[in-house]
Amino acid sequence: MGEASLASTIFDRESAVLGRYLLVLSLALLGTGCASKQVVVEGNFPTPLLDPLPVTLGVIYPSAFAQHEFFDEAKGRAESDWLVKTGEAQVQFWDILFSGMFEDVVHIRDWETVQSRGADIDGVIIPAIAELQYTIPTHTNVKVYEIWMRYQFRLVDVSALHQQEDGALSFNPEERLAAWPITAYGKTPTAFLQTDEEAVNLAAVVALRDAGAHFVTTFGANPGVAAWLDGIAARQHNGIGPEPDVEGAEVSPNIARDDAATPETARNGGGSPAEDAAGEAMSSAETSGASS
Protein backbone atom coordinates (compact mmCIF):
# COMPACT_ATOMS: atom_id res chain seq x y z
CA MET A 1 0.00 0.00 0.00
CA GLY A 2 2.77 2.26 1.03
CA GLU A 3 4.83 1.37 -2.04
CA ALA A 4 1.87 1.92 -4.31
CA SER A 5 1.24 5.27 -2.76
CA LEU A 6 4.89 6.25 -3.19
CA ALA A 7 4.90 5.14 -6.83
CA SER A 8 1.74 7.05 -7.43
CA THR A 9 3.25 10.18 -5.95
CA ILE A 10 6.38 9.89 -8.10
CA PHE A 11 4.29 9.30 -11.22
CA ASP A 12 2.12 12.30 -10.41
CA ARG A 13 5.17 14.49 -9.97
CA GLU A 14 6.72 13.33 -13.24
CA SER A 15 3.40 13.82 -14.90
CA ALA A 16 3.18 17.36 -13.59
CA VAL A 17 6.71 18.15 -14.77
CA LEU A 18 6.03 16.64 -18.16
CA GLY A 19 2.78 18.53 -18.31
CA ARG A 20 4.61 21.79 -17.66
CA TYR A 21 7.18 20.98 -20.34
CA LEU A 22 4.42 20.15 -22.79
CA LEU A 23 2.61 23.36 -21.90
CA VAL A 24 5.78 25.42 -22.44
CA LEU A 25 6.45 23.56 -25.69
CA SER A 26 2.91 24.14 -26.89
CA LEU A 27 3.09 27.83 -26.02
CA ALA A 28 6.45 28.09 -27.78
CA LEU A 29 5.00 26.41 -30.87
CA LEU A 30 1.98 28.70 -30.80
CA GLY A 31 4.23 31.70 -30.27
CA THR A 32 6.39 30.72 -33.21
CA GLY A 33 3.40 30.96 -35.51
CA CYS A 34 2.64 34.51 -34.36
CA ALA A 35 6.20 35.81 -33.98
CA SER A 36 7.42 38.52 -36.29
CA LYS A 37 10.24 37.71 -38.64
CA GLN A 38 13.03 40.13 -39.26
CA VAL A 39 15.65 40.08 -41.99
CA VAL A 40 18.58 42.47 -42.26
CA VAL A 41 19.66 41.86 -45.83
CA GLU A 42 23.31 40.88 -46.10
CA GLY A 43 25.37 39.74 -49.05
CA ASN A 44 28.70 39.86 -50.79
CA PHE A 45 28.40 41.85 -53.97
CA PRO A 46 30.86 41.63 -56.85
CA THR A 47 32.53 44.55 -58.55
CA PRO A 48 31.12 45.00 -62.06
CA LEU A 49 33.37 44.02 -64.93
CA LEU A 50 33.32 47.28 -66.85
CA ASP A 51 35.58 49.96 -68.19
CA PRO A 52 34.65 52.84 -65.90
CA LEU A 53 33.08 55.84 -67.59
CA PRO A 54 35.37 58.88 -67.42
CA VAL A 55 32.91 60.65 -65.16
CA THR A 56 33.09 62.02 -61.64
CA LEU A 57 29.75 61.09 -60.16
CA GLY A 58 28.29 62.57 -57.03
CA VAL A 59 25.99 60.24 -55.09
CA ILE A 60 23.39 61.16 -52.54
CA TYR A 61 21.72 58.37 -50.61
CA PRO A 62 18.60 59.88 -49.03
CA SER A 63 18.01 58.59 -45.52
CA ALA A 64 14.83 56.84 -46.67
CA PHE A 65 17.05 54.89 -49.06
CA ALA A 66 20.01 54.30 -46.76
CA GLN A 67 17.71 53.12 -43.98
CA HIS A 68 15.14 51.47 -46.19
CA GLU A 69 12.98 48.82 -44.63
CA PHE A 70 9.57 47.45 -45.27
CA PHE A 71 7.08 46.01 -42.90
CA ASP A 72 4.28 43.61 -43.72
CA GLU A 73 1.71 42.93 -41.05
CA ALA A 74 0.40 39.40 -40.68
CA LYS A 75 -3.04 38.94 -42.21
CA GLY A 76 -3.99 36.07 -39.94
CA ARG A 77 -2.89 33.82 -37.11
CA ALA A 78 -1.09 31.48 -39.47
CA GLU A 79 1.09 34.27 -40.84
CA SER A 80 3.91 36.29 -39.33
CA ASP A 81 4.74 39.97 -39.41
CA TRP A 82 7.71 40.61 -41.66
CA LEU A 83 10.29 43.37 -41.28
CA VAL A 84 12.92 43.38 -44.01
CA LYS A 85 15.71 45.93 -43.72
CA THR A 86 17.44 46.48 -47.04
CA GLY A 87 19.03 49.91 -46.46
CA GLU A 88 22.57 48.85 -45.52
CA ALA A 89 22.73 46.31 -48.31
CA GLN A 90 21.40 48.89 -50.77
CA VAL A 91 24.16 51.36 -49.94
CA GLN A 92 26.82 48.65 -49.95
CA PHE A 93 25.67 47.30 -53.28
CA TRP A 94 25.24 50.62 -55.12
CA ASP A 95 28.57 51.89 -53.77
CA ILE A 96 30.32 48.89 -55.32
CA LEU A 97 28.40 49.25 -58.57
CA PHE A 98 28.95 52.99 -58.98
CA SER A 99 32.63 52.64 -58.08
CA GLY A 100 33.07 50.06 -60.82
CA MET A 101 30.99 51.96 -63.36
CA PHE A 102 32.38 55.48 -62.95
CA GLU A 103 35.95 56.66 -62.73
CA ASP A 104 35.41 58.65 -59.57
CA VAL A 105 32.55 58.61 -57.09
CA VAL A 106 31.98 61.35 -54.52
CA HIS A 107 29.56 60.75 -51.67
CA ILE A 108 27.70 63.95 -51.00
CA ARG A 109 26.56 64.03 -47.42
CA ASP A 110 26.66 67.75 -46.69
CA TRP A 111 26.98 71.18 -48.21
CA GLU A 112 30.72 71.27 -47.48
CA THR A 113 31.24 68.39 -49.90
CA VAL A 114 29.25 70.25 -52.55
CA GLN A 115 31.43 73.31 -52.09
CA SER A 116 34.76 71.49 -51.91
CA ARG A 117 34.18 68.92 -54.67
CA GLY A 118 31.45 70.59 -56.72
CA ALA A 119 33.86 71.77 -59.41
CA ASP A 120 34.94 68.16 -60.10
CA ILE A 121 31.52 66.58 -60.10
CA ASP A 122 29.92 65.97 -63.51
CA GLY A 123 26.53 65.00 -62.16
CA VAL A 124 24.79 63.79 -59.04
CA ILE A 125 22.73 60.63 -58.89
CA ILE A 126 20.01 60.18 -56.29
CA PRO A 127 18.46 56.72 -55.96
CA ALA A 128 15.13 56.02 -54.29
CA ILE A 129 13.10 52.88 -53.75
CA ALA A 130 9.65 53.56 -55.06
CA GLU A 131 8.11 50.20 -54.35
CA LEU A 132 8.94 46.79 -52.97
CA GLN A 133 6.88 43.62 -53.01
CA TYR A 134 7.64 40.17 -51.75
CA THR A 135 6.01 36.77 -51.70
CA ILE A 136 6.79 33.66 -49.71
CA PRO A 137 5.43 30.15 -50.27
CA THR A 138 2.73 30.57 -47.61
CA HIS A 139 1.30 33.47 -49.63
CA THR A 140 1.30 31.78 -53.01
CA ASN A 141 1.60 28.02 -52.51
CA VAL A 142 4.47 28.19 -55.00
CA LYS A 143 7.80 26.96 -53.70
CA VAL A 144 9.58 30.19 -54.52
CA TYR A 145 10.49 33.26 -52.45
CA GLU A 146 10.36 36.43 -54.53
CA ILE A 147 11.29 40.08 -54.09
CA TRP A 148 10.46 42.75 -56.62
CA MET A 149 11.66 46.34 -56.38
CA ARG A 150 11.14 49.49 -58.36
CA TYR A 151 13.76 52.17 -58.05
CA GLN A 152 13.53 55.75 -59.19
CA PHE A 153 16.87 57.28 -60.15
CA ARG A 154 17.34 60.98 -60.61
CA LEU A 155 20.36 62.63 -62.15
CA VAL A 156 20.93 66.30 -61.42
CA ASP A 157 23.66 68.78 -62.06
CA VAL A 158 25.60 69.74 -58.97
CA SER A 159 24.41 73.32 -59.51
CA ALA A 160 20.85 72.14 -58.79
CA LEU A 161 21.81 71.27 -55.22
CA HIS A 162 20.96 73.79 -52.56
CA GLN A 163 21.36 74.08 -48.84
CA GLN A 164 18.25 74.60 -46.80
CA GLU A 165 18.11 76.69 -43.66
CA ASP A 166 18.49 73.62 -41.48
CA GLY A 167 21.60 72.62 -43.38
CA ALA A 168 19.94 69.84 -45.31
CA LEU A 169 20.62 69.42 -49.01
CA SER A 170 17.83 69.81 -51.50
CA PHE A 171 17.41 70.20 -55.22
CA ASN A 172 14.92 71.67 -57.58
CA PRO A 173 13.15 68.84 -59.42
CA GLU A 174 12.76 71.12 -62.44
CA GLU A 175 16.52 71.20 -62.83
CA ARG A 176 17.09 67.48 -63.04
CA LEU A 177 18.94 66.10 -66.03
CA ALA A 178 17.18 62.76 -66.11
CA ALA A 179 14.84 60.57 -64.10
CA TRP A 180 14.19 56.95 -64.84
CA PRO A 181 12.82 53.85 -63.13
CA ILE A 182 14.66 50.57 -62.73
CA THR A 183 12.86 47.38 -61.82
CA ALA A 184 14.55 44.42 -60.21
CA TYR A 185 13.43 40.91 -59.45
CA GLY A 186 14.95 38.21 -57.33
CA LYS A 187 13.72 34.76 -56.53
CA THR A 188 15.02 31.74 -54.74
CA PRO A 189 13.41 28.33 -54.56
CA THR A 190 12.66 26.58 -51.32
CA ALA A 191 15.52 24.45 -50.11
CA PHE A 192 16.00 21.81 -47.47
CA LEU A 193 17.04 23.25 -44.11
CA GLN A 194 16.65 26.82 -45.34
CA THR A 195 14.64 29.17 -43.15
CA ASP A 196 12.17 31.73 -44.46
CA GLU A 197 14.53 34.50 -43.38
CA GLU A 198 17.51 33.01 -45.23
CA ALA A 199 15.44 32.55 -48.36
CA VAL A 200 14.08 36.12 -48.28
CA ASN A 201 17.62 37.42 -47.76
CA LEU A 202 18.84 35.43 -50.74
CA ALA A 203 15.96 36.66 -52.90
CA ALA A 204 16.80 40.24 -51.89
CA VAL A 205 20.46 39.75 -52.82
CA VAL A 206 19.42 38.31 -56.20
CA ALA A 207 17.09 41.30 -56.68
CA LEU A 208 19.90 43.73 -55.89
CA ARG A 209 22.18 42.03 -58.39
CA ASP A 210 19.40 42.17 -60.94
CA ALA A 211 18.92 45.88 -60.25
CA GLY A 212 22.60 46.43 -60.93
CA ALA A 213 22.47 44.44 -64.16
CA HIS A 214 19.41 46.40 -65.27
CA PHE A 215 21.06 49.69 -64.37
CA VAL A 216 24.29 48.92 -66.21
CA THR A 217 22.59 47.69 -69.37
CA THR A 218 20.10 50.56 -69.67
CA PHE A 219 22.05 53.51 -68.29
CA GLY A 220 23.07 55.09 -71.58
CA ALA A 221 19.73 54.37 -73.22
CA ASN A 222 17.89 57.06 -71.26
CA PRO A 223 17.76 60.20 -73.48
CA GLY A 224 18.58 62.51 -70.59
CA VAL A 225 21.54 60.40 -69.51
CA ALA A 226 22.76 60.07 -73.11
CA ALA A 227 22.66 63.86 -73.56
CA TRP A 228 24.49 64.30 -70.23
CA LEU A 229 27.21 61.82 -71.27
CA ASP A 230 27.54 63.51 -74.67
CA GLY A 231 27.93 66.86 -72.92
CA ILE A 232 30.69 65.48 -70.68
CA ALA A 233 32.46 63.93 -73.67
CA ALA A 234 32.27 67.24 -75.55
CA ARG A 235 33.60 69.19 -72.56
CA GLN A 236 36.44 66.72 -72.08
CA HIS A 237 37.21 66.88 -75.80
CA ASN A 238 37.36 70.68 -75.60
CA GLY A 239 39.26 70.61 -72.33
CA ILE A 240 36.53 72.45 -70.42
CA GLY A 241 35.61 71.42 -66.90
CA PRO A 242 32.16 71.71 -65.30
CA GLU A 243 31.23 75.12 -63.94
CA PRO A 244 28.94 74.54 -61.00
CA ASP A 245 26.68 77.24 -59.66
CA VAL A 246 26.09 76.14 -56.13
CA GLU A 247 24.64 79.40 -54.82
CA GLY A 248 21.05 78.93 -55.89
CA ALA A 249 18.42 79.54 -53.23
CA GLU A 250 15.24 78.06 -54.61
CA VAL A 251 13.28 75.93 -52.17
CA SER A 252 13.25 72.32 -53.20
CA PRO A 253 12.59 68.87 -51.79
CA ASN A 254 14.92 67.83 -49.02
CA ILE A 255 16.94 64.85 -50.17
CA ALA A 256 19.95 64.25 -48.01
CA ARG A 257 18.25 64.55 -44.67
CA ASP A 258 14.69 63.74 -45.41
CA ASP A 259 12.53 62.09 -42.85
CA ALA A 260 13.82 58.95 -41.27
CA ALA A 261 12.90 55.91 -43.27
CA THR A 262 9.38 54.96 -42.48
CA PRO A 263 8.60 51.27 -42.59
CA GLU A 264 7.12 50.51 -45.94
CA THR A 265 4.09 48.31 -46.17
CA ALA A 266 4.65 45.65 -48.76
CA ARG A 267 1.82 44.60 -50.97
CA ASN A 268 1.03 40.99 -51.38
CA GLY A 269 -1.32 39.21 -53.65
CA GLY A 270 -1.92 42.26 -55.81
CA GLY A 271 -1.04 42.69 -59.43
CA SER A 272 1.92 40.88 -60.81
CA PRO A 273 5.29 42.63 -60.88
CA ALA A 274 5.03 42.83 -64.64
CA GLU A 275 1.67 44.57 -64.40
CA ASP A 276 3.00 46.93 -61.79
CA ALA A 277 6.04 47.67 -63.89
CA ALA A 278 3.71 48.84 -66.61
CA GLY A 279 1.80 51.04 -64.18
CA GLU A 280 2.18 54.77 -63.74
CA ALA A 281 5.49 56.20 -62.72
CA MET A 282 5.93 57.04 -59.07
CA SER A 283 5.29 60.56 -58.07
CA SER A 284 6.26 60.76 -54.44
CA ALA A 285 9.88 59.67 -54.51
CA GLU A 286 10.96 63.32 -54.68
CA THR A 287 9.95 63.82 -51.10
CA SER A 288 9.54 60.46 -49.46
CA GLY A 289 12.14 58.32 -51.13
CA ALA A 290 10.06 55.25 -50.49
CA SER A 291 6.43 54.57 -50.79
CA SER A 292 4.22 51.61 -50.74
Binding site: E14, S15, L18, G19, L22, P46, T47, P48, L49, L50, D51, V142, V144, K187, T188, P189, R209, D210, G212, A213, H214, V216, T217
Partner: protein, 227 residues
Protein backbone atom coordinates in the same frame (compact mmCIF):
# COMPACT_ATOMS: atom_id res chain seq x y z
CA UNK B 1 -8.24 -10.01 -29.80
CA UNK B 2 -7.42 -6.35 -30.24
CA UNK B 3 -3.71 -7.11 -29.72
CA UNK B 4 -3.91 -9.60 -32.60
CA UNK B 5 -5.42 -6.97 -34.90
CA UNK B 6 -2.70 -4.47 -33.99
CA UNK B 7 0.04 -7.07 -34.65
CA UNK B 8 -1.56 -7.88 -37.97
CA UNK B 9 -1.58 -4.22 -38.93
CA UNK B 10 2.04 -3.81 -37.82
CA UNK B 11 3.05 -6.82 -39.90
CA UNK B 12 1.30 -5.31 -42.91
CA UNK B 13 3.12 -1.99 -42.49
CA UNK B 14 6.46 -3.69 -41.92
CA UNK B 15 5.84 -5.77 -45.03
CA UNK B 16 5.09 -2.65 -47.00
CA UNK B 17 8.21 -1.04 -45.57
CA UNK B 18 10.39 -3.96 -46.60
CA UNK B 19 8.93 -3.85 -50.10
CA UNK B 20 9.66 -0.16 -50.17
CA UNK B 21 13.25 -0.84 -49.10
CA UNK B 22 13.61 -3.22 -52.01
CA UNK B 23 11.97 -0.84 -54.47
CA UNK B 24 13.15 2.46 -53.03
CA UNK B 25 16.50 2.58 -54.78
CA UNK B 26 14.92 2.23 -58.20
CA UNK B 27 15.25 5.22 -60.46
CA UNK B 28 14.55 5.13 -64.15
CA UNK B 29 16.70 7.32 -66.37
CA UNK B 30 16.54 8.29 -70.04
CA UNK B 31 19.51 10.03 -71.61
CA UNK B 32 19.60 11.57 -75.08
CA UNK B 33 22.75 12.86 -76.68
CA UNK B 34 23.48 14.76 -79.86
CA UNK B 35 27.00 16.16 -80.11
CA UNK B 36 29.34 17.37 -82.86
CA UNK B 37 33.03 18.17 -83.19
CA UNK B 38 34.10 16.15 -80.21
CA UNK B 39 37.59 17.16 -79.01
CA UNK B 40 39.15 13.74 -79.57
CA UNK B 41 42.42 14.80 -77.96
CA UNK B 42 40.66 16.33 -74.97
CA UNK B 43 40.64 20.01 -74.10
CA UNK B 44 44.27 20.22 -72.94
CA UNK B 45 45.04 23.28 -70.82
CA UNK B 46 41.71 24.92 -71.59
CA UNK B 47 38.88 25.19 -69.12
CA UNK B 48 35.17 24.53 -69.03
CA UNK B 49 32.45 26.37 -67.21
CA UNK B 50 29.07 24.87 -66.37
CA UNK B 51 26.26 27.34 -65.77
CA UNK B 52 22.62 26.95 -64.77
CA UNK B 53 19.76 28.72 -66.52
CA UNK B 54 17.70 30.80 -64.12
CA UNK B 55 15.53 32.99 -66.28
CA UNK B 56 12.34 30.90 -66.11
CA UNK B 57 9.63 32.37 -63.88
CA UNK B 58 8.72 29.18 -62.05
CA UNK B 59 12.00 27.37 -61.45
CA UNK B 60 15.75 27.77 -61.15
CA UNK B 61 18.31 25.21 -62.13
CA UNK B 62 19.76 24.27 -58.78
CA UNK B 63 23.27 25.52 -57.91
CA UNK B 64 24.08 22.23 -56.17
CA UNK B 65 23.16 20.28 -59.31
CA UNK B 66 25.63 22.36 -61.34
CA UNK B 67 28.24 21.76 -58.66
CA UNK B 68 27.48 18.02 -58.78
CA UNK B 69 28.05 17.85 -62.54
CA UNK B 70 31.26 19.85 -62.27
CA UNK B 71 32.53 17.53 -59.54
CA UNK B 72 31.53 14.49 -61.56
CA UNK B 73 33.48 15.67 -64.61
CA UNK B 74 36.53 16.72 -62.62
CA UNK B 75 36.62 13.48 -60.65
CA UNK B 76 36.28 11.49 -63.89
CA UNK B 77 39.16 13.34 -65.52
CA UNK B 78 41.17 15.57 -63.15
CA UNK B 79 42.93 17.17 -66.12
CA UNK B 80 39.71 18.98 -67.02
CA UNK B 81 39.61 22.36 -65.33
CA UNK B 82 35.99 23.07 -64.40
CA UNK B 83 35.46 26.66 -63.30
CA UNK B 84 33.08 27.08 -60.36
CA UNK B 85 29.76 28.57 -61.34
CA UNK B 86 29.37 31.15 -58.57
CA UNK B 87 32.97 32.32 -58.94
CA UNK B 88 32.42 32.68 -62.68
CA UNK B 89 29.21 34.71 -62.50
CA UNK B 90 30.75 36.93 -59.83
CA UNK B 91 33.86 37.52 -61.90
CA UNK B 92 31.77 38.44 -64.92
CA UNK B 93 29.09 40.41 -63.08
CA UNK B 94 26.73 41.70 -64.46
CA UNK B 95 27.00 39.80 -67.76
CA UNK B 96 25.81 36.37 -66.65
CA UNK B 97 22.87 37.33 -64.46
CA UNK B 98 19.45 35.85 -65.38
CA UNK B 99 18.58 39.15 -67.09
CA UNK B 100 21.78 39.47 -69.10
CA UNK B 101 23.08 35.93 -69.72
CA UNK B 102 23.59 35.14 -73.41
CA UNK B 103 20.90 32.85 -74.78
CA UNK B 104 22.65 32.08 -78.08
CA UNK B 105 26.36 31.41 -78.65
CA UNK B 106 26.48 34.12 -81.31
CA UNK B 107 25.74 36.79 -78.71
CA UNK B 108 29.02 36.10 -76.95
CA UNK B 109 30.70 38.19 -79.63
CA UNK B 110 28.86 41.22 -78.32
CA UNK B 111 30.20 40.53 -74.85
CA UNK B 112 33.71 40.19 -76.20
CA UNK B 113 33.50 43.73 -77.56
CA UNK B 114 33.86 44.86 -73.94
CA UNK B 115 37.65 44.91 -73.38
CA UNK B 116 37.64 43.87 -69.70
CA UNK B 117 35.32 40.96 -70.50
CA UNK B 118 37.46 39.86 -73.43
CA UNK B 119 40.61 40.09 -71.30
CA UNK B 120 39.14 37.98 -68.53
CA UNK B 121 37.94 35.32 -70.96
CA UNK B 122 41.38 35.21 -72.55
CA UNK B 123 43.04 34.76 -69.16
CA UNK B 124 40.61 31.98 -68.36
CA UNK B 125 41.37 30.02 -71.55
CA UNK B 126 37.75 29.01 -71.74
CA UNK B 127 37.06 26.37 -74.37
CA UNK B 128 33.53 25.22 -73.59
CA UNK B 129 30.57 26.86 -71.91
CA UNK B 130 27.90 24.35 -70.87
CA UNK B 131 24.43 25.58 -69.98
CA UNK B 132 22.19 23.34 -67.90
CA UNK B 133 18.47 24.00 -67.91
CA UNK B 134 15.98 22.04 -65.82
CA UNK B 135 15.10 21.11 -62.29
CA UNK B 136 13.90 18.39 -59.95
CA UNK B 137 10.38 18.37 -58.60
CA UNK B 138 8.30 16.21 -56.32
CA UNK B 139 5.15 14.87 -57.95
CA UNK B 140 2.05 13.16 -56.66
CA UNK B 141 2.00 11.86 -53.11
CA UNK B 142 -0.14 9.28 -51.36
CA UNK B 143 -0.54 7.60 -47.99
CA UNK B 144 -1.00 8.95 -44.53
CA UNK B 145 0.95 9.13 -41.37
CA UNK B 146 0.01 10.24 -37.91
CA UNK B 147 2.35 11.14 -35.12
CA UNK B 148 1.58 11.49 -31.46
CA UNK B 149 3.28 12.50 -28.27
CA UNK B 150 2.36 11.65 -24.74
CA UNK B 151 4.04 11.40 -21.38
CA UNK B 152 7.04 9.19 -22.03
CA UNK B 153 5.76 8.07 -25.42
CA UNK B 154 6.19 9.52 -28.90
CA UNK B 155 6.00 7.98 -32.29
CA UNK B 156 4.54 7.89 -35.75
CA UNK B 157 2.56 5.28 -37.57
CA UNK B 158 1.64 5.14 -41.22
CA UNK B 159 3.05 5.04 -44.70
CA UNK B 160 3.66 7.77 -47.23
CA UNK B 161 4.94 7.74 -50.77
CA UNK B 162 5.69 10.41 -53.34
CA UNK B 163 7.35 10.65 -56.71
CA UNK B 164 10.31 12.75 -57.83
CA UNK B 165 11.15 13.71 -61.40
CA UNK B 166 14.21 15.39 -62.84
CA UNK B 167 14.52 16.83 -66.30
CA UNK B 168 17.72 18.54 -67.40
CA UNK B 169 19.21 19.53 -70.72
CA UNK B 170 22.84 20.50 -71.20
CA UNK B 171 23.73 22.69 -74.15
CA UNK B 172 27.42 22.76 -75.07
CA UNK B 173 28.87 25.91 -76.65
CA UNK B 174 32.24 25.89 -78.31
CA UNK B 175 33.64 29.13 -77.01
CA UNK B 176 36.32 29.46 -79.69
CA UNK B 177 33.98 29.19 -82.66
CA UNK B 178 30.92 30.58 -80.84
CA UNK B 179 28.73 27.71 -81.98
CA UNK B 180 26.60 25.12 -80.30
CA UNK B 181 28.26 21.73 -80.55
CA UNK B 182 25.87 19.48 -78.72
CA UNK B 183 22.94 18.83 -76.47
CA UNK B 184 22.59 16.16 -73.82
CA UNK B 185 19.41 15.61 -71.88
CA UNK B 186 18.56 13.40 -68.94
CA UNK B 187 15.14 12.54 -67.58
CA UNK B 188 14.94 10.55 -64.39
CA UNK B 189 12.13 9.60 -62.09
CA UNK B 190 11.71 7.55 -58.97
CA UNK B 191 9.42 6.80 -56.09
CA UNK B 192 10.16 7.66 -52.47
CA UNK B 193 8.71 5.86 -49.48
CA UNK B 194 8.32 6.72 -45.84
CA UNK B 195 7.14 3.84 -43.68
CA UNK B 196 6.72 4.71 -40.04
CA UNK B 197 6.43 2.27 -37.18
CA UNK B 198 7.23 4.48 -34.22
CA UNK B 199 10.16 6.00 -36.15
CA UNK B 200 9.65 7.21 -39.75
CA UNK B 201 12.22 5.73 -42.11
CA UNK B 202 12.60 7.79 -45.30
CA UNK B 203 13.65 5.77 -48.34
CA UNK B 204 14.59 8.41 -50.84
CA UNK B 205 15.15 7.58 -54.50
CA UNK B 206 18.34 9.33 -55.72
CA UNK B 207 16.58 10.92 -58.67
CA UNK B 208 18.63 14.11 -58.91
CA UNK B 209 21.85 12.24 -58.20
CA UNK B 210 21.11 9.81 -61.02
CA UNK B 211 20.41 12.73 -63.38
CA UNK B 212 23.72 14.27 -62.31
CA UNK B 213 25.60 11.02 -62.95
CA UNK B 214 23.88 10.42 -66.30
CA UNK B 215 24.47 13.94 -67.58
CA UNK B 216 27.96 14.06 -66.07
CA UNK B 217 28.94 10.78 -67.76
CA UNK B 218 27.85 12.01 -71.18
CA UNK B 219 29.62 15.35 -70.77
CA UNK B 220 32.74 13.60 -69.51
CA UNK B 221 32.67 11.34 -72.55
CA UNK B 222 32.47 14.38 -74.78
CA UNK B 223 35.16 16.46 -73.09
CA UNK B 224 37.70 13.86 -72.01
CA UNK B 225 40.22 12.08 -74.16
CA UNK B 226 40.26 9.18 -71.70
CA UNK B 227 36.59 8.24 -71.81
Amino acid sequence: MSTGIIWHAIKQWVGAGLCALLLGGCVSATVDEMTYNEPVAGIGESSVVILGRRHAPDYDTEFDFIQCIGDHIHSGDPSIDVIGEIAFINEFYPWFEPRTAPMQPETIDRLLQLPPVAERFAAMQLEYMIWIDGNTVDTESAGSMSCGIGPGVAGCFGFGTWGTESEYEATIWDFTDKVEVGRVSAQTSGQNYMPAVIVPIPIIAPVQGTACDSLGDQLLEYLSAHH
